[in-house]
Symmetry: C2
Subunit: 412 residues, 2 copies
């Protein structure tokens, strides 16, 4: 034990400290398993997408010049020189002064530069089409290479894959993208008072809530939780469990030690592990102050408060960015978290010197800015989180906010 053990850091510093843990190695996965992952490398298009210019509407492909000035009062008339079925490359260019019947997705014949929607035309019979509307070049055309150009980066490394990015990879024929691995995160709970959830706690005991709530959050964040169960409040036992957990995973969460003695056990056990360093002992947030951050080798270990609400707030503030950093998100630790505005419904006191994270329930009462009702209660209870829709951060320097203040809500 040395003075480093009493190093309470700011939340900004805590995030900075997480920056020393490198992203995990890349792996290639089937495209259908890549959703939510971060690209490990730039994806350079091997071909143009779309591969050729295509019609965006059912109608007629034309040279825009041939229907210049056309309108209801002075329609233009063009011979229909060809019919372009879907999936077929027109065999010949479009002769000037003619048009080609085309369907959505059909490929424009060479020479055509616009599509006139079928509802602005009339088939006169005998191969003649009346145009009641002009077209500008490019109208209703999806141009070759609009989505991706051969040789150019289509999606950069670090991009998170949503459905639309999966779609672009499909279009490019990228069947197995390289993405950052999902971290295996070991979850340990300490506390002699805890019982596994399938057992009836002895008098005075309570069930192990944190293992299950933390595993659910880790899944939300994209990690693979590995629940290692309960560890007694005993320094040897905690040391052994942590050593195993670190060896077998990419990161470790150890929650509990809600009693002073147990907290000390966890700290001492972490400090005693080979090549370990206590990076933070306390973080200036509420709830969540008694949080420990340690490095064991190159792996992070977070000692979470045993109080369920505290643990969940710490996971939202720091666990999510850590998981996303390990998964290869280059901005995980620096991106401002998404918030939206609300109006505080009542006065709210805040103890200066720590960043308060108040749980709020939202109420929409007309207008587009909801009311945020603080949900107050002990951080050892689940109640405040159960009733809450989001978190409102109150700056460490602030002594409170008045009813009617505009606040930023982070959704839960």
């Amino acid at each position: 034990m040395n003075k480093d053990f009493f190093r309470v850091v700011s939340p900004a510093r805590f995030l900075e400290l997480l920056g020393q843990f490198p992203p995990l190695a890349a792996e290639t996965v089937e495209l259908d398993a890549a959703r939510g992952r971060f690209l490990a490398r730039d994806v350079v298009a091997a071909e143009d997408v779309p591969p050729r210019s295509r019609a965006a509407m059912d109608g007629y492909a034309v040279r825009a010049a041939d229907v210049f000035g056309a309108g209801e009062a002075n329609p233009a008339y063009l011979d229909c020189a060809m019919d372009v079925p879907i999936g077929v490359i027109p065999s010949a260019p479009l002769p000037p002064g003619t048009c080609a019947r085309i369907v959505t997705g059909g490929m424009l014949p060479e020479g055509a530069d616009a599509v006139v929607m079928v509802e602005h035309t009339f088939d006169m019979g005998a191969g003649v089409v009346e145009f009641r509307k002009f077209a500008a070049p490019g109208d209703h055309v999806m141009h070759r290479g609009d989505d991706a150009r051969v040789g150019v980066v289509a999606l950069p490394a670090g991009r998170r894959l949503r459905a639309q990015e999966i779609g672009l990879l499909a279009a490019l024929g990228v069947t197995c993208p390289a993405v950052g691995a999902r971290p295996r995160v070991a979850v340990l709970s300490t506390g002699d008072e805890l019982t596994p959830i399938h057992a009836t706690p002895p008098p005075g005991g309570i069930r192990d809530v944190n293992t299950h709530a933390l595993c659910a959050l880790l899944r939300d964040f994209g990690a693979k939780p590995v629940a290692l169960g309960l560890v007694p409040d005993d320094q040897q036992a905690i040391h052994a469990a942590l050593a195993l957990a670190v060896a077998d995973s990419d990161a470790v969460l150890v929650s509990g030690g809600s009693s002073v003695g147990a907290r000390d056990f966890t700290l001492a056990a972490l400090a005693a592990l080979h090549d370990s360093e206590i990076l933070a002992h306390g973080v200036a947030v509420s709830p969540g102050k008694p949080t420990i951050l340690a490095r064991v080798g190159l792996k992070p270990v977070i000692g979470l408060p045993g109080q369920v609400t505290s643990a969940q707030v710490v996971m939202t503030l720091f666990g999510k960015p850590l998981v996303e950093r390990l998964m290869g998100d280059p901005h995980a630790l620096t991106r401002k978290p998404f918030t939206f505005p609300a109006t505080l419904a009542r006065n709210l006191a805040s103890k200066p010197g720590r960043e308060d994270h108040v749980r709020v329930r939202l109420e929409y009462v007309g207008g587009d800015i909801p009311l945020a009702h603080p949900v107050l209660g002990r951080s050892g209870l689940l109640k405040t989180l159960l009733d809450a829709d989001g978190l409102v951060a109150i700056d460490a320097a602030c002594e409170g906010l008045e009813a009617g203040s505009r606040v930023a809500v982070r959704p839960l």
Copy 2:
């Protein structure tokens, strides 16, 4: 074919029509697999949570009356009658005029009604503790039953299980909650121009984007997608594929048919299935108008536009509520979707008669209301979705919005 085939409905009506599809049967799952699911039945607490009143801080349990008026200038002094370790029920009540040393989570002895934090006390030695702060009854106490009371509904049917709800179920010993099943949703793509993504498309062909983008969205929504692959633009083939898909799943998405002929094939094939009904042929949204909704037996089939952006917008507006309805969310079809305010960065025209869903990119330029930049482009391209952070709905009656207008953004 009858006139019903040309029934274009409003988006509100489309959601109403989804109401005829009943939620799936309940199933019991391991608690760790229940995240994101909807409770099928009320969960009534079989015991109080917490089971006894507990300290929310390290310190001393007292009768508040015994430290009435205590402060720095006039401390109170109490004998320490007992030490309450974590997980142990105090064997005797707290004698009046005494205190009990207690740790966070420790159980209050009978008679104690408040906890004074250790930092407001001083151990004088010889079993005497100095109190430099008074306490009100209930201070720093988590009361028995604060989270759940025996015999009372702790979580109602229909509640979505987030980490905090999982935590409460853990506390209650609910190891296998009953939740709505996750729908198996079959995904078919039609279109002769389509090639599976692992193959090189022939000249004029393109790869099948929709199967992969739709499966990713379905996973986002909580469904289990079943990709059934490509079906040729042929009415017999589409009919056979749809019949199989309906038999093997809880809902079917069939995308493509971007050509007029293929659209007709899908419609005719749906109409020809046993016990089928076309509920909507077109919905007044843009993009996404050529959407079909059919009932086959008790199962929904949505015919999605082949255009990738259109299909994804339709899935956001209708596919997500349908999946959540099938999973047992009682408010899936009536809940106002979550939006947050933004300021439109430029004028935006909108064709009246349909509800426009404009893709927007957000820019934060100071203040808490971002600028929303419309991302315009063809709905057959992925580009607009790739560049977008959200959707802005423009009412069917509206002809456009001016730059500077306040808009509601639905995040993507």
